[in-house]
């Protein structure tokens, strides 16, 4: 048996030349199919182009310029906005608040979601009820939920303070206390987003073959060992997915803070995340160039975090099979 010769590695230019020399380009059928595909894609491309790609490129242009929002003639300022941003104490306060939020809300939400998903994957009674109950907060509109939470945590007539009072703990002013404002937002996000993560984890758990558990049972592995040696490693692709989307979402936290604190940055800027800082700069102070610099800086931070996570994933994520 002769061994097949390895395919020679082509350069990009050679690949492009090969593509244009291929017979497929001379086939009318190819052009008809392509045209059809592009027509189907056109509406989406137009919407994405107008509302995503154009603003994405234009805000980069804005970040390098200074001028009134109403006038297209702008002064080129280069990286001035970025330099100023890195010296702005409000930006660093916003970065710190965002990091604090991400570091507490994401791991806690994932841990609790995994815990409840494993429980809901066992043979417990009222499983359907619990699944619905955990998922309900996720499908509740954030604005409506945040208004309710604002009432729950109100200093004078909030339900949470009544609960604390029952245990003899004095009432707390969660909304106006700089030390409690962000923990309250974190608690809200855990309640709100845990249900979604549970559903994703449940899908992952149900994809793990029962044979692994049967084999482990024969070998005498207990529940804890089965979790750490089978469930957790085989769930890492799902965990990785949940981690990425939770992290990106957490970096962009905005709605709940905006509603709970009536569009402000919270007491002494304690709830001012980067997105709130961005919004206030753009639509409160109307400094569009500076706001675009904030948006791009945040984009780079999220991008770097995602790259780091992907690099770590290569070492830690097990795809089974």
């Amino acid at each position: 048996m002769t061994q097949a010769a390895p395919t020679p590695k082509l350069s990009l230019i050679q690949r492009i030349q090969a593509y244009f020399a291929s017979d497929q380009l001379r086939s009318p059928r190819f052009w008809k199919d392509s045209l059809q595909a592009y027509i189907y894609l056109l509406p989406t491309l137009v919407i994405l182009g107008v509302f995503t790609f154009f603003p994405f490129v234009n805000s980069f242009f804005l970040s390098l310029h200074e001028g009134p929002i109403t006038n297209p003639t702008r002064t080129f300022t280069g990286l001035e906005h970025f330099e100023k941003l890195f010296q702005d104490r409000k930006f660093w306060k916003a970065m710190w608040n965002t990091t604090y939020y991400v570091m507490f809300s994401v791991p806690t939400t994932i841990f609790l979601a995994l815990f409840f998903a494993v429980l809901l994957n066992t043979k417990i009674r009222f499983k359907g009820f619990f699944r619905t109950a955990f998922f309900l907060p996720y499908i509740t509109p954030t604005v409506a939920a945040a208004v309710v939470w604002e009432w729950i945590f109100h200093r004078d007539w909030g339900l949470f303070n009544s609960f604390l009072n029952f245990f003899g703990i004095p009432k707390q002013d969660f909304i106006n206390n700089p030390e409690l404002a962000m923990p309250m937002v974190i608690l809200f996000s855990i309640w709100k987003y845990m249900g979604f993560n549970i559903v994703i984890f449940l899908a992952g758990l149900q994809n793990i073959s029962k044979e692994y558990y049967d084999a482990a049972a024969i070998d005498g592995a207990n529940a804890w060992q089965r979790f750490w040696k089978i469930t957790f490693p085989l769930l890492t692709p799902v965990t990785f997915f949940v981690l990425i989307i939770s992290m990106v979402g957490a970096f962009k936290v905005f709605d709940e803070i905006f509603v709970i604190f009536h569009g402000s940055t919270g007491p002494l800027d304690s709830a001012m995340t980067v997105m709130i800082f961005f919004y206030q700069t753009a639509f409160g102070r109307f400094k569009m160039g500076y706001a675009s610099a904030i948006a791009y800086t945040m984009f780079i931070v999220i991008f770097l975090f995602t790259l780091l996570q992907m690099w770590l994933a290569k070492r830690r994520v097990h795809y089974g099979g």
Partner: protein, 429 residues
Amino acid sequence: MFKKGLIFAVLLATTLAFWAPAQDKIQVTFWHAMSGGLGETVDTLVAQFNEQSETTEVTAVFQGNYGDLFQKNLASVAAGEPPTITQMFENWTPSYLQPALDENALAPIQGLIDPSIVADIPGIFVSANTYTIDGEATLTTIPFNKSATILYYNQETVPNPPTTWDELLELSQSLRQDTDGDGEDDVFGFYMRPGSSGVGELYLTYLKMAGGSIIADDCKSVNLNGAEAVTAAQFMKDLADVSLTGSDFEDGLFAAGTIQMYYSTSAGIVFATRSVGDNFPWTTFGGLQGPAGTSSVIQGTNLGIFQMNHTQEQVEAAADFVSFLVDVPQTVFWAQETGYLPVRTSAIESAEFQDFLANSDTYRAPTESLDNAFITPGLEEWSDVRLTIADAVELILVGGVDIQETLDQLDADVDEALSSVSDGISCTG
């Protein structure tokens, strides 16, 4: 096929029947941010105008809150298709004029409305609506919904309002009570919202009461760290220390009896009236004296007419509507229904409005406050500056910072923000 054609013909005929007569009149669009009862009063005035005008049809369009309205106006000007008339704060107006734009998008009110109307507008409003256009001071916009900052108080617990800063401090302290015996006060004399953007305007009011000035004549620098500024800030801090501070709106706490006094704009009279109902008697006061006298910040918007993308005919039709709105009967009706100030001297002095004041005590204070009032500078940069001031005041009130250091930093930050103000610009404040 015949059936479909018939349906189409009926629909077309119906649409044209409703549409055609309106097209005979000159179309004017009026974008506003007046919600609830305020919006209903706007609609009533618009309907009155449309009924009496044979040439002009005004369509009022509610655009959301003030922030939404400004964003939409900016976008419409950037797109070259603004409405005919819109509301604008003094510091929004420069965004629609040179040098922010290559050509002025606004048609100055001066020259469009009868000079006798201009002569009848209180001087404070005239100067606040005057901008430098082609090197000349020009009345560009016209006052519409203007309110004054006044003290609201519960007449059951505060029979006589405090007239000096010291009295306000003493009363705020003495009215504090722990009614449920849990060791914490639950009834307060005074209430402040340190985190609100309006706290900056409140600070400027106290600064004026202390004898301070806000901005230099060239509009390029402020004086927010002088002795008067420190006195005003120290007073606010002392007041905050004996008061309830929070983020709830004032009228709810006032109606619940949690607070007995608060400072707010007269635009809030309608909300307080609705919240308190018949629970207890209350009224307003505008004569609180600081070391240098009394003062009140006038807030609210003005009306501007866009010439951008509009014919001269439309601009003149818009001016007719604006003249109608500020005509004496209409501005009195507007004031009676909403709590805003009448914008004509003859309207304030009219028998009808004076009769109204005689029967509506709460509306007296804002009108009387006009004599000692001020309006914040009409600079484009002021959107940024007012938030910077609010941030510093919040730090002073609840952040435990050194007052002089914070004001020094504030003064420097605002001066930097104003460094881009063009030469030859006039501003009030």
